[in-house]
Symmetry: C2
Subunit: 336 residues, 2 copies
């Protein structure tokens, strides 16, 4: 059962992350987290005919490896919670179509991985299943042509932009069976926050207020402090969004600077890799979680972390229609 | 708690649908279900500047009316599960951004309303919340230009096509508090089925196998027969998909013909209204459920129904790339 404290979920039965996997592209493998990824696909097409098929293959690979690492077959898994950034979430639906796992599509833009973790945990705690997987993905080439310009156009990117990560991550969640594996302790589902930012090339600024809102609510409801956590990982605020998050939280007397990392900043060697404000995309925090972060936890280097992916709930159509950018941040407290 | 019988969910605490509402456009209001809708918006723009904004307004209206009918305010609701067909599900995110309800985006194409009902029910049964809403929408004009042609082009539609419903539906779900309101008894989450159909103008054919698969699994796992249900409602198979569903089920010695209706066939006066094979879109089954079907149940004309929306998990990009159409069907057993 889940305890509900002012809309913070406390998972009393500690659903485990029994196994996990990450698959990324060539550029991500040149970054500082290289050794934590399970598989690197050097060809942007991944041997497929289109970038969209390549992204679906990232999903399939991440799921396949996560199952293998845990010694599971697809038939052991009762539900799959998956999502991505492509129109109609096709990376997930096409990537998952051969597994025959009952499928629940989720959409939270770049916050999707957290939604999957939360919904898997709820479903397990409700008794509806014993095992579920969640996965999220993005691909630089499929995202660029959908959100911005065809790659061939060579559009110039403003310094505030972020670089969509080519990658996918997958977790296998289960009823608590091991005290030696990470588990989901608690979670906070975010509300939609729209502060009127309209610059689609500055997603960090649009999403920082959502992250601040969710973090404040969670710390308040759980009566915990920043220092209680080994690390607070945001999803893809990037360098600019992270600074804004610090400013917003300082106004509430919360200082996370020394305890915070952003997956979008971590995944690339900023300054060297032409990614401007950092990495982004559903696959950014998904591959960092299912690589570096969970590896650190399994090695007991970290025992209690907050994972807070943020999502910008816009589309190219709303940008053209001069709408502002509604954003959201979901938080998951993972412990071991 | 949820009982799990071979992946069929039995909701032991009978989460109630305490209130519900439907909002539709002008054409839907000319159909036979007119009197069951809560609000009709005669202007395709709904007083907004774009079709996408008009669709968001359908969502906001349906949610507002459902809350009003139940005597609730937005702050009574702990989670909102919403989705639609637009790229990045913007009808939902923009429609919901002013409610400040913790928001979980779902994507199941035209099966989205069932996903919302199922996830709301699981979340309530897990103890994570007392009340949740779910909503789904579609709009003929926003869908046509996204999936097919700009309206001004006047593209001719083959006879197998369906007409995207302009409409939205919203349900307020709650822990069981009333024996006099409908409740969610059980559910079956579908698996992705892809039989190789590539004709995007014949969605019914693509989705019928998914409906057949989910229905068979549910009847089998619950050890029930077609005659045990007052009516089996599919989402938007239309006339052609419904016939195919009968054929597929007959091969398994299941005859649902006399106990089946399809929301896509019900909502328009076929033959008169130029909709070809029937209605479609997330808003089709959502508005028929949150109008005609739940009204019939509250009037005790029907006490035990299956609601089985189907979704085609394609995108215009996958069509251009000559992919086949993966489909899915989720089933919800609603009783009173």
């Amino acid at each position: 059962m889940v305890n509900n404290i002012s809309n913070t979920m406390i998972f009393t039965e500690k659903p485990n992350i029994l196994s996990y996997a990450s698959v990324v592209g060539k550029k991500e493998a040149q970054g500082p987290l290289k050794d934590d990824f399970d598989k690197i696909i050097y060809d942007a097409y991944g041997g497929k005919e289109t970038f969209e098929q390549a992204e679906s293959a990232l999903v399939s690979e991440a799921v396949t490896i996560a199952l293998q690492k845990g010694g599971f077959s697809a038939s052991d898994i009762e539900y799959a919670f998956c999502g991505d950034l492509l129109n109609q979430c096709i990376a997930s639906s096409f990537g998952m179509r051969n597994f025959q796992i009952p499928y629940i599509g989720v959409y939270g833009a770049c916050s999707t991985m957290a939604l999957g973790l939360i919904l898997s945990s709820i479903t397990i705690e409700s008794g509806a299943c014993q095992k579920a997987i969640c996965a999220a993905s993005s691909h630089f080439c499929s995202a660029e042509r959908q959100y911005r310009f065809p790659l061939e156009y060579g559009g110039q990117r403003p310094p505030t932009t972020q670089w969509t990560v080519t990658g996918a991550g997958c977790c296998v969640l289960s009823k608590h069976t091991s005290d030696n594996k990470p588990y989901i302790h608690s979670a906070q589902v975010g509300s939609i926050i729209d502060m009127g930012i309209t610059d689609q090339n500055n997603m960090g600024a649009a999403m920082a207020p959502a992250a601040a809102d969710t973090i404040c609510k969670f710390l308040n409801n759980t009566n915990t402090r920043v220092e209680d956590y080994d690390m607070i990982y945001t999803g893809d605020l990037g360098k600019i969004g992270s600074k804004l998050l610090y400013e917003l939280l300082e106004k509430k007397d919360i200082d996370i600077k020394s305890n915070h990392k952003d997956c979008g900043v971590m995944i690339f060697q900023n300054g060297d890799m032409d990614v401007h404000a950092g990495g982004s995309g559903c696959g950014c925090c998904a591959s960092v979680l299912c690589g570096h972060i969970l590896n650190s936890m399994c090695e007991k280097k970290q025992r209690n972390i907050l994972f807070i992916p943020t999502g910008a709930l816009l589309s190219p159509t709303t940008v053209l229609q001069k709408e502002s950018i509604p954003s959201i941040a979901h938080l998951v407290n993972i412990r071991i």
